[in-house]
Symmetry: C2
Subunit: 682 residues, 2 copies
């Protein structure tokens, strides 16, 4: 044991194994910092928070030539003993690294919970490892009390403490934090916990020592709004809540909301207020579930498609309905929650992710952040299916994105008996290859329709995944041809032709909740063909631009992607051929990406860079988009383009009339949309 300050000792930090020579008498916390070993500390070495606790390793030091290290660490002083006494833990095994001083060679173990910038792993198709480094951090400070003769204001003395203890400088203070500063400092008897945003602004000051920084990550979907409440120190998800997007009152899909905004002078404002109110409600529910208050949330990350973000910000999305169009901004947006009217902490910031451009929104950027295609070696296709499908193709060398207007068919829209994925919706369908009769399963029921009494089934309609199943099965059984047209001669009791038009009965009147049959019509099949062709064509165009003939992996993002039968989806040509082993539903990637950006400043920075790096392709203006779209309307009927469908699809030529039929259909659609336009302009 020596107090000679010239003397230096070897200190090894485990598990990183970093080592260096440290002047005698230095604290372990300082030693760790000097070596780049990041140990957590809220109080900045004031023996208050206990976040910097370490273990003087007793097992493993002999290999460093240390014979005993019992006396190589200064004994715990009064403050540290008090700290451990309160917590009934033996200071012998744990020590506060801000208090323990180096008096000899040491091997120190930094337990996981004491490591700053913790790595947390989030499971998904891709394993995600992230370093926790959120935009907001808490710092505990002791502030010099007001004194006669010291003319510095409270804020100036607080800044002095923050600079001294935590090396923070050039700070601003949010007005509301300044307003409450005097009261808080005195309440805490000149001790306070300060929340700092982005290393630049004090947004909250709490009296005394306080622990807990919380954030809220929300994916604002056109239909569903889902939010995760996170502990930003540990990365733990404390609560997850979701609700319907209240804007659905004003229009089911994006175009109808844009129209609503055009036709009603206060339409945009109403939809803006509706989503703001919903976010406040969701935040309240989530904080309640975690036994917290909305005021405890000091940072939010919001993602959504371009229309959702426009309405969130109170911007009229009419621009998005026209061409050419531009976004308000394609960079990330930081705005005070209070300016938007979201009820959270008054100083809370809302971060909205940047976008690549066009109709590809912040939610797509969140998907990129979650799935990291920009680091992939293999060629990845990511599709996020909604009213607009967002498509990404590429790998670390070149990544392209596009948006394809699939329309609402996959969400049950424009389908005779279509409905949302809710209880009672037919979500799975199989057709017997011999009898050509169907069996199905509805959401909320484990049994198939042929395993239960008909009157118990209560089918209400068909949702997107059910329709995909149905079209794939109809084709596999030869009930429809490769052009999507019903084969009139189909010998099935469930098939019939009424007024020259074929239809297939999926559920009989006894099997439904309405007492009426659920059928799929020729027109429904056409709607699905249009939707899947838009998606497929977009993907193929990006692949062509990328210079690849096939993709190695397909990631199906979003709730829809998680529920579809990937084989049958490929059978109808929803996405280009791929080994089904390498097709993954990745769940709500947009939400995951939002969570990651809540936890990591580096991810936010990366998103801003990726927004500029990813090549956005305006597929609508590609010269051969229309022709390719028409070509892709048919169902995969040869294994040329779909080698992985070998034996699964009937290989036969497309019906000759498919193209004529399509052209007729095309013209009708044009007329329809013209009519729609007239309505909108009234």
């Amino acid at each position: 044991m020596s107090n000679d300050t010239e003397q230096k000792y070897l200190v090894v930090f485990q598990p990183s194994g970093r080592q260096g020579y440290v002047p005698a008498g230095q604290t372990l916390l300082d030693a760790a910092r000097d070596m780049g070993v990041e140990i957590e500390s809220i109080c900045g070495g004031q023996q208050t928070c206990g976040k910097c606790k370490i273990v003087a390793d007793v097992g493993n030091f002999s290999k460093y030539g240390i014979t005993s290290q019992e006396e190589n660490l200064s004994p715990a002083g009064g403050d540290e003993r008090d700290y451990w006494t309160k917590r009934k833990r033996d200071p012998g095994s744990y020590r506060l690294s801000c208090a323990a001083c180096v008096l000899g060679d040491l091997v120190i173990n930094v337990p996981e919970e004491s490591q700053a910038r913790k790595q947390i792993v989030r499971k998904s198709a891709t394993v995600r490892e992230i370093e926790i480094d959120p935009a907001i951090r808490q710092y505990f400070v002791k502030v010099q009390p007001a004194a006669l003769g010291n003319r510095q204001g409270d804020w100036e003395r607080l800044q002095e403490s923050l600079a001294k203890t935590h090396h923070l400088s050039g700070l601003q203070i949010d007005y509301f934090a300044l307003r409450d500063l005097q009261k808080v400092l005195r309440q805490g008897n000149w001790e306070a916990t300060v929340t700092v945003w982005n290393g630049q602004e004090v947004i909250r000051v709490q009296p005394g020592y306080a622990e807990g920084v919380y954030g809220f990550a929300v994916d604002i979907g056109s239909t569903t709004v889902a939010g995760h409440l996170l502990d930003l120190r540990t990365g733990q998800i404390l609560a997850t809540e979701s609700m319907m997007n209240p804007q659905t009152t004003y229009g089911e899909d994006l175009m109808s909301r844009i129209s609503y905004g055009m036709m009603n002078p206060d339409g945009v404002d109403k939809m803006h207020k509706a989503i703001i109110e919903a976010l406040s409600k969701l935040l309240k529910r989530a904080t309640r579930a975690a036994k917290l208050q909305p005021e405890d949330v000091t940072e939010l990350v919001l993602v959504g498609n371009t229309t959702m973000v426009d309405l969130l910000l109170g911007i009229d999305p009419v621009e998005l309905g026209g061409a050419p169009f531009a976004l308000p901004t394609n960079d990330a947006v930081d705005v005070k929650a209070r300016d938007l009217g979201i009820v959270a902490h008054r100083g809370a910031n809302v971060h909205i992710l940047p976008v690549e451009g066009g109709h590809v929104g912040a939610d797509n950027m969140a998907v990129v952040i979650a799935e990291s295609p920009q680091v992939a070696e293999d060629i990845v296709l990511i599709v996020d299916i909604g009213t607009n499908a967002e498509i990404l193709v590429g790998n670390k060398d070149h990544l392209l994105s596009a948006s394809s207007p699939t329309g609402p068919a996959f969400e049950g829209g424009e389908i005779s008996h279509g409905m949302r994925a809710a209880d009672g919706a037919i979500e799975k369908v199989r057709i017997d290859r011999e009898t050509l009769t169907p069996r199905f399963r509805v959401i909320g029921e484990d049994r198939w329709s042929d395993e239960m009494p008909a009157h118990e089934i209560q089918a209400a309609g068909i949702c997107g995944s059910g329709i995909i199943d149905l079209v794939a099965e109809l084709f596999a059984c030869g009930i429809i041809d490769a052009g999507g047209k019903f084969v009139r001669e189909t010998p099935s009791p469930n098939f019939r032709v009424t007024r020259q038009v074929g239809e297939y009965i999926v559920a009989t009147a006894e099997q439904t909740s309405t007492g009426k049959e659920i059928v799929i019509t020729q027109q429904d099949i056409r709607a699905i063909q249009f939707a899947k062709s838009a998606l497929y064509t977009g993907a193929k165009l990006l692949m062509e631009r990328r210079g690849v003939e096939k993709v190695d992996r397909v990631l199906l993002a979003g709730g829809f992607g998680a529920h579809i039968d990937k084989l049958r989806a490929m059978m109808i040509g929803l996405f280009p051929d791929c080994d089904l082993e390498n097709v993954y539903p990745v769940g709500n990637s947009a939400g995951d990406g939002a969570v990651l950006c809540l936890l990591s400043r580096e991810r936010r920075q990366r998103a801003r860079q990726l927004a500029r790096w990813i090549e956005y392709v305006e597929t609508a203006i590609e010269p051969n988009f229309q022709a390719r779209f028409v070509d892709a309307l048919g169902l995969p009927h040869t294994t040329d383009a779909f080698p992985h469908l070998q034996g699964l699809i009937p290989e036969r030529p497309a019906a000759e009339d498919v193209n004529n039929e399509d052209r007729r259909r095309e013209r009708r659609r044009d007329r329809l949309s013209r009519r729609e336009r007239v309505v909108v302009e009234e």
Copy 2:
């Protein structure tokens, strides 16, 4: 005439006389910028704003060896001709410097209105010359329209234009400006006028070319709130409005407002809301008077004493009533008007001046900015009299400040017939040296009381300046002695002794509006002695600290300072001796300082530096303050300390009992304030 780009020509700019050689073909605007001649321009050289107009001088060029300069400037092109045609002005005499190119040697006259950073002179005791460089500026831009294939957002393209045309970079945008951006750019057909705060944040975007940046400077007094609306391009005051501070409902003086806040749970909030509402009202009145809207005001400067600023920010001023105390901050504060709830432009900023410390507030800093004692060669004393008097002593080498608790006597408080300086208040008093009878003048009446019928006078009370006159006159006539005590033997019909206490009748029952006499009592005189002694002692202490025995100049700031008779004020010892020639009332210096800080970023910066440089002295803790205060209670009765009062005051010894009397009075005051304290704590 030559288009050779290698060729350079002499260009002389008048009136500055700056000259240099300029490449042929360069515009005069660019040439001026290269030479550091600042010519105004909103549109950045797009021949739209006309702010950069110059005159090709026709008279004065021969001395530079130029024989003719008619052909040395490029002729006006289409855009410039259009500009002048619309304005019916001959383009021959005026030219747009952004359009006119150098084709030969030239002498150019930059008219005053085209000079950027105009010098404007504001008249006062000190002549103030300032360069207009406000925190907000307007820039006209043409933005690239949205186009297919360009994935930049509107904000990104706006930034590009601002960088290219106006060399602005690293800008942020206020949320509300971003929200309206798309609409505004399209309304203006991709032309817009952008208001930028502090070269860092876009706070307003207007469609097309717009002109007009306006600011509001307000001095929030305890009693009166006065605001000036300014054109920030020209420095012109467009409107001045004032109103009662609505907080007077909650307490006449600062201490009673602090008490109100302590005794009522929502007291602070009520007073906060009252002043915010008042500011919105005042701003509305001022903009209406100038035919503008509140939304046209994008910058505010507010000054006030520490209590006023606390209440403005919604901070409980209770801290200011205790000791030791600290201010929330002593630096300048910038806060969005919308966060305070002031109705102005949504992106408007409120700037509050920094303070030196203690009870010396932002209004005192404004006085410093207006009077610039920090550049004085001679020793200046500045006093701003209110319930607290702020005192500054020093010059460019060393400046000290202090605050002295004068109490409300000078505002008519604690005086038997005291009142505010309003119609009917006795503001001037003279006592005949022979008859010892008074004559007086009331506010709102030009005649003296002896020049008009008694019943027409309608005197209502005595205001501060009247009381000072009265005390000085009573002493000069020997009605009171140097201790301030009535001389019982006084042979005046207006003097009487009732129940052992003397009083002097100023106005008879016929002369008053109430039909009752207006008198001054022994107690009233004592109150004035206390007030003037606090001020005098503070000033003397600062002089001592500064190492000077006399001051060269006295500036009396504030409305009170403007109305008092400076000779009589010195006769009662309100301020230390000075040649009366060098005693100036400077009017509402605090308001002037606020105006200057609205017009000049440099002044704001200077204020922040001065706040740290000026030495704040806590007079209350000076060890000999109390003794000096008691010593200064008497009236100046020798010319030792007041050589300039030679022949004006009766030189005789102080009455022996003055000190005893004072001590009794002291004790009573102690009791009183203890009682007050009890009430407060109830």
